[in-house]
């Protein structure tokens, strides 16, 4: 153990150094430590932060709701083609964010399917790929497979006898859902929800492909760093993003 301790120290250093440097960089600009404050008060930065938070929260809630319903359904019902359906639901797992972005464009972009259909039906072209709706659709599409697998694993481990016990005590199916199923899935929902939130906060590929500009935080960081060469702000934004995500993940445990 004595031999291992220095190894751990060296390793931690390598591990923590970039993070420390990042934190230091955030305070290295002209405004010094106030860069962090400015990131939270400056209108453009703050609104990007809020938008990212709202988007991620909404994506997480939507994903959890869809995943609980379809996950329970897939685990509980045994029907022909069940495993095929599971395979289909989890297909987007195979595509990285960039490709998901492409798909959203195909669905809701200028030459997208939804646009074509809406033109045919109402004579109005619906285009949503390049605004927050597109991001929302892309993120949900990206998140559902990951969350649904966790929910299904948890749903398979639910103790059916608990539900039968609740029913024997007079609980109706909605009560069983509220009192037994949801509490049983809760740990899985919290942990996969937190990961879904963290992923959405940091999703870059989709946002970039959809050309989301500075509307979400990772894009903003990239823009500040590469195009504006405003390294201090980029670092400060990174630290804030990291802190929020870390807090959510830590709370989930």
């Amino acid at each position: 153990l004595l031999l291992i301790t220095p190894a751990i120290v060296v390793f931690s250093a390598f591990w923590l150094l970039p993070i420390a440097r990042l934190v230091a960089l955030g305070a290295s600009g002209e405004a010094g430590i106030e860069t962090y404050l400015s990131v939270l008060t400056n209108g453009r930065y703050a609104s990007s932060l809020l938008q990212t938070l709202a988007l991620s929260g909404l994506v997480t809630l939507t994903t959890l709701a869809i995943a609980v319903i379809s996950g329970l359904f897939l685990v509980r019902q045994d029907f022909f083609g069940r495993s095929a359906l599971v395979a289909v639901m989890t297909l987007p797992l195979a595509f990285p964010g960039v490709v998901i972005g492409l798909m959203v464009i195909m669905l809701g972009g200028r030459q997208g399917i939804v646009g074509d259909v809406s033109v045919a039906l109402f004579g109005v072209k619906t285009v949503f790929a390049y605004n927050m709706v597109g991001l929302f659709v892309g993120y949900v599409y990206f998140s559902i497979p990951r969350v649904i697998l966790t929910v299904m694993a948890a749903a398979e481990k639910l103790d059916i006898q608990l539900e039968e016990a609740a029913r024997s005590l007079g609980a109706t199916p909605p009560m069983v859902f509220r009192d037994v199923i949801l509490p049983g899935l809760q740990p899985a929902l919290i942990s996969s929800g937190a990961i879904c939130f963290a992923t959405s906060m940091g999703a870059f590929g989709t946002a970039f492909t959809l050309n989301a500009g500075a509307s979400v935080l990772p894009m903003l960081i990239y823009t500040e760093f590469t195009l504006n060469a405003n390294i201090a702000v980029a670092a400060a934004l990174s630290v804030v993003l990291g802190l929020i995500t870390w807090a959510v993940l830590a709370l989930a445990r």
Partner: protein
């Protein structure tokens, strides 16, 4: 503070259960259980005993033509949540997100009974089950025996028409099971509640049931009091499943059953009988003069209050003998056995 409960007689009429894949879990069975009676359904795993209990509970629907009656009410189409039965599961099935008091009060809560009244009634149940010190405990802080008592209190709190227990004591260790069995038995008799208890453990069935229903491969093979089941098994399956049975091949000659190592005087046997069965305690160690069978001790097991001898050289399989612990036997000793002829069975 123990009041008699209003409880229903239970009747299954022509109830069978076939699963989607064609497996017949339970062939058509008819069962009548009187109000306040304790009945044990006994059988090996896969014999359909749990399915039968679940049909009573409303967790399984019998095949068309079958009827489940609680007193005069036909409850066949009623789901479990409308039947007002108390159930106790092998895994206890306590709600891990609720504490002991909340678990016991849950059935009252879903009935819309206010917090004050349901707490009072739950505390009354806890008093009866000696659970007061644990009211605020989390479920995972309880021992197995305490969990079992909470499960029972929860099932009784709703004042059910019948109490259904599915292998409720199997998960506990031997000594605790014994204690709880006594406790539950005394309680149920005082409450006077109709109780159906499913188990694969014949010792448990013997000690709990007013009547025992023995099932095998989806069919009822015998119904009777513990004494009847033990002393007058109705068929070979029951004889072998309940208690220990020795088997001895041979043939009937001159009113005696002749085996390779001796003869047992038995007047009541069918002349075609090729095998007899008898229990370890129907055998006594005898003088060489008056013995029926002679063998050699292969192993001895001191059981505290008795000694079990495994005796070789009598039939194909060793004969098990149980005698009072007074005598001392050693391996390879020759012993002479006398079988009480009234206790010899043949099927």
């Amino acid at each position: 503070m123990i009041r008699k409960m209003d409880s229903s007689p239970i009747r299954l009429r022509n109830c069978s259960k076939t699963y989607g894949d064609g497996t017949i879990a339970v062939g058509p069975v008819d069962i009548e259980i009187a109000a306040g009676e304790t009945v044990v359904i006994l059988g090996p795993s896969g014999c359909g005993k749990t399915t039968t209990l679940r049909m009573m509970a409303g967790l399984e629907m019998p095949d068309p033509g079958g009827h489940v009656l609680f007193g005069a009410d036909d409850v066949t189409r009623l789901p479990i949540e409308k039947r007002n039965v108390g159930m106790v599961f092998q895994s206890y099935a306590l709600f891990p997100n609720l504490d002991v008091l909340e678990n016991i009060a849950y059935g009252l809560r879903v009935r819309g009974i206010g917090l004050a009244e349901r707490s009072a009634r739950a505390r009354e149940m806890m008093g009866m089950m000696r659970l007061e010190p644990f009211a605020e405990r989390r479920i995972d802080q309880l021992s197995g025996g305490q969990k079992q008592r909470v499960a029972l209190a929860r099932a009784l709190a709703i004042q059910p028409r019948a109490l259904l227990l599915d292998e409720a004591l199997t998960a506990l260790d031997a000594k605790l099971r014994d204690t709880l069995r006594t406790e539950i038995d005394v309680l149920l008799r005082r409450l006077g509640i109709t109780t159906v208890y499913v188990t694969h453990d014949q010792e448990e069935a013997m000690s709990l049931g007013d009547r025992i229903i023995v099932m095998d491969r989806g069919k009822i093979v015998q119904i009777g009091s513990p004494r009847e089941i033990y002393h007058r098994p109705g068929c070979r399956f029951v004889a072998e499943f309940v208690g220990t049975m020795n088997r001895l091949p041979g043939e009937v000659r001159d009113g005696q059953f002749v085996t390779k190592s001796g003869r047992i005087p038995c007047r009541h046997l069918d002349p075609d009988c090729r095998e007899v069965m008898f229990r370890p305690e129907s055998v006594t160690i005898a003088d060489p003069a008056e013995c029926d069978l002679t063998g050699r001790v292969a192993a001895t097991f001191f059981l505290g209050d008795r000694t079990r001898l495994v005796v070789d050289g009598i039939g194909d399989q060793p004969v098990i003998v149980e005698s009072e612990s007074a005598g001392e036997f050693v391996v390879d000793q020759i012993v002479h056995l006398k079988v009480r002829s009234a206790a010899v069975h043949a099927f």
